[in-house]
Amino acid sequence: MSTKTKLITEPGREVTQDACRVCAPLGACLAFKGVEGAVTLLHGSQGCATYIRRYLISHFREPIDVASSSFTEETAVFGGKANLLAGLDNISRQYTPQLIGVATTCLSETIGDDVAAVLRDRVPADPEEKCKVLNVSTPSYSGSHADGFYRAVRSLVSALTEETSEVFTQRLNVFPGMATPADIRWLKSLFKAWGLEAVVLPDYSDTLDGGLWDTYQRIPSGGTSLAAIRGMGGAECSLEFGHALNPADSAAVWLEECRGVKRLLLGAPVGVAASDLFFHRLQALTGRDFPADLSAERGRLIDAYADGHKYVSGKRAAVYGDADLVATLALFLLEIGVTPVVCAAGGPVSAFREVMKGLVPDFEERGMEVLSDVDFDHIEQATARVGVDFMIGSSKGYKAAKRLGVPLVRVGFPIHDRFGAARQRLMGYDGTQRLFDELVNTLLSHTQEATGLGYSYM
């Protein structure tokens, strides 16, 4: 049947067939995992916490605690205040967290619970309680998981960052977006090597990619400390990675407007050009020379591009997923000579075409189709129409790729059918190198399997 199904073709259809995005509360849960001593509570039915935990855990292969205010029918009718308060006290008692991030769901938003007011008036059962409780509005009927992620990061900054008149040079705020733990780890060691005092938010490089435990850890160690977030107002500037994020959801925009910290927005450093720009910024901030080992990394990457061009140059790809990642990957693909003929953002991102136009002014002439708010059926149709050599995006594109008979390079979230998603490296020359190798190998493997001749010399 799967090969026989006609795809829905009429425009403006109502049924979403195989969505290419998840809901906002998931993004908030991910963001709060990157704060030291933090626990998330989802205000709604316990199913949300259970589903979201399962989804995140299957991707990262790490424990992820998300509590719930566990609504019953009675709660849905009379309001969630009592459950929320009980939930907060129970978390506080069990975990002694430094922070509880409360994210709403469609249930609590639909009944109109005023979470901010409940938190404002809350008197903890334990008078000794020292944890900070903050909330973020993440109704599942609005935006996508990426929006929930950005909003939660912004809520952390707006609730915690203190006003300060002091500015520390060489201190930097970094908002990497939904980066992999390995990329966050790479960023941190890079800043350290460059002598920059950088606060990366969120930082789930340890909490979502940690070792075995000698002793039990109620909340896994790691994460951005609350003190560091409080001090973000004293940074020289904020680096924010992204192309399509809504300024109203941006933490760096909030810091610029409310704490006077200059915002530098740039695309995630994936690919030579984006990495060059990123390192150029770091040079400007530090006044340092370009390190020799980075030059060598860059050299190796260009060398690999040269060695691999026979396999990739002139190829066509469909890239899909979160808007920022799609834009980042599209630029990388163009750089290696691949035309991303389908660039599809799963979430409802207003002005995604304009964003792409800004990045690739002649995208129409290049035959690139730019889509947003689309599901996998739309993506598959568009891809089938124009024809591609491979697809690149989350593991959810597997079904479409299989039907179209093209290989899939797995990048982004979720990756549920492969191992090591948390350790995927994309950023910098070195990260790009790994992505490039994987991409070339995927194409080689596909050709090898397809010929059936048994060649082991490709």
Partner: protein
């Protein structure tokens, strides 16, 4: 490293972190197993478990919601009913093939909608102005493209709150498309206290709107339904193989590897076999009242249990030909089982397991561990009721609380035409004398040793205490628990999705399971947890002097 603590001490360890109010409630959900005093006329004297009670906010439960039970568990494994989830996108996405149910369409032309995820993807304006129009249009589109025989609608949290009437929409659309059976489920996530509410809601609607509409009679002398088998990891395929070999016709499975047509004709059987008692006992009871089809409990997890369940079927029919054929099949299957056990049992014997899964697996899988010489020292269900723990004889003494009262109990009467008594009361008594209790389920606790710790709705904190204090050789649960348990150096076997392996049911499944548990418990990685200089002082010294 077996526990040095007594069961009572362990229980206190579990409770001590809680505030008094929480501890008082959990105290009734954590029970030290004690077999009933036979002198008390078989009435429950101890062992009463507080089950199917509300989850405590802020305590990390393993439970899901009513929607998960309805869509994910009961209806999800059916391949040719087109499922539309009415609500914001998350719920539909999260239930998209995640239970890894398998299905096998007969031909390429047969529909299989299981790999799809359909949703109305409600947006803010739908929440404000209502989503019925959008739902109707989504149904129009789905029918135009996929032409299903049946289409169902699952309500997520906001639907009931904003007053969308999925049942009215279903009626209206069915009038528009008389060839398509369209029905809806009011399975909003906040209904009941767990997935269990969703099972009941699913059972009710399938019973009233699907069952009895068809008249398929699969050929065969012994026609049965298998209720509560969801074909995780191909379990149903193995059972289909065994049944066919025994000459027993599987008319319908609820709902692993099933079709709509099989559901419609499930009344054309002589017997219902109940696997997962929790999720499907409603259906079994309603079918008995309406059609006179009796049921009994089976367990096909474990080779011995599979043999026992097959023998029960033979005895029920009382037909020597069938009894002989079943014995021949068991005799044919057993040598491979014994050979596998001889291979794996020596490296597992005497080790311990704990099991916290679902509404029947925490019971059923004990048999497989037992076959390996492993004891289950602590177990509990996520969403079961007291009868699943203590046996169905407690049903009449279960107090119905407000959460359960909100789930409809359908009044069922014998069907004027289709009701047929299959077993007389005398025959029932005969069967009982042979050890076959019709409509009976003894529950998990009588089969567990005294002193075992029964924990209902185990939460995250308690799982951690168990690992620390008991350190079992293996922990059977789900992916949410998996990585926290493994961080402590204990392997976790996923018994919801089987870690992408299986089947574990039936005979071939048992062989798979033996090998799997051996592979996990004795994996080489556990030996690397401690660095050499951590565990051996001499090594430490030698490392220090190297270089």
């Amino acid at each position: 490293m077996p526990s040095k603590l007594t069961p009572e001490e362990l229980k206190q360890e579990l409770l001590k972190a809680y505030p008094a109010k929480v501890a008082r409630k959990r105290e009734k959900q954590i029970i030290i197993n004690k077999h009933k005093d036979p002198s008390a006329n078989g009435l429950p004297t101890t062992n009463e478990v507080l089950a199917n009670a509300r989850t405590i906010p802020g305590i990390l439960s393993m439970r899901g919601c009513a929607y998960a039970g309805c869509k994910g568990v009961v209806l999800g494994p059916t391949r040719d009913i087109l499922h539309i989830v009415h609500g914001p996108i998350g719920c539909s996405y999260y239930a998209w093939l995640t239970r890894r149910n398998q299905t096998r369409p007969v031909s390429d032309e047969d529909p299989n909608f299981m790999t799809y995820c359909f949703s109305t993807d409600m947006q803010e304006e739908d929440i404000i102005y209502g989503g019925e129009k959008k739902l109707k249009k989504a149904i129009d589109e789905a029918i135009a493209i996929f032409k299903p025989k049946a289409l169902d609608i699952f309500s997520t949290c906001p639907v009931g709150l904003i007053g969308d009437d999925v049942h009215a929409v279903a009626r209206e659309m069915e009038a528009k498309y008389p060839d398509v059976n369209i029905f809806g489920f009011s399975c909003e996530g906040y209904k009941g206290v767990s997935q269990s509410a969703g099972h009941h809601i699913a059972n009710n609607k399938v019973f009233t709107d699907v069952l009895g509409l068809g008249d398929l009679k699969k050929p065969g002398k012994y026609r049965v339904n298998l209720l509560g088998e969801y074909n995780i990891g191909g379990d149903a395929f193995e059972l289909e193989r065994v049944f066919e070999k025994c000459g027993i016709t599987l008319q319908a499975t609820f709902s692993g590897n099933s079709t709509y047509e099989e559901f419609t004709s499930a009344h054309n059987v002589d017997l219902n076999l109940v696997m997962c008692h929790r999720s499907i006992n409603y259906m079994a009871d309603m079918m008995e009242t309406k059609y006179g089809i009796p049921w009994f409990k089976v367990n096909f997890i474990g080779a011995e249990s599979s043999a026992k369940s097959l023998r029960k079927i033979g005895q029920y029919y009382g037909d020597q030909e069938l009894i002989d054929r079943i014995e021949a099949v068991i005799a044919e299957e057993m040598p491979a089982i014994e050979a596998a056990r001889a291979t794996h049992r020596p490296s597992l014997e005497g080790k311990t397991a704990v099991l916290f899964v679902g509404g029947s697996r925490a019971h059923h899988y004990q048999d497989l561990f037992h076959e390996l010489g492993m004891e289950t020292i602590s177990a509990g269900y996520e969403f079961a009721h007291r009868d699943d723990y203590e046996g169905r004889h407690v049903l009449s003494s279960i107090k119905v609380d407000a959460d359960s009262r909100n789930i409809e109990e359908i009044e069922v009467h014998p069907d004027a035409e289709l009701y047929k008594e299959r077993v007389t009361p005398e025959r029932k008594a005969e069967l009982l004398a042979m050890g076959i209790e019709m409509n009976g389920y003894e529950g998990m606790m009588p089969e567990m040793k005294e002193g075992a710790l029964i924990i209902d709705d185990l939460n995250h904190h308690e799982a951690e205490v168990l690992i620390e204090k008991v350190k079992p050789a293996i922990f059977g649960a789900g992916v949410k628990e998996k990585y926290v348990i493994q961080k402590s150096g204990v392997p976790l076997k996923q018994l919801h999705s089987y870690d992408y392996s299986g089947p574990y049911a039936g005979f071939k499944g048992a062989i798979n399971f033996y090998a799997e548990i051996d592979r996990l418990v004795n994996a080489s990685c556990w030996g690397l947890v401690k660095a050499p200089w951590q565990s051996s002082p001499e090594l430490s010294a030698s490392y220090a002097y190297v270089g």
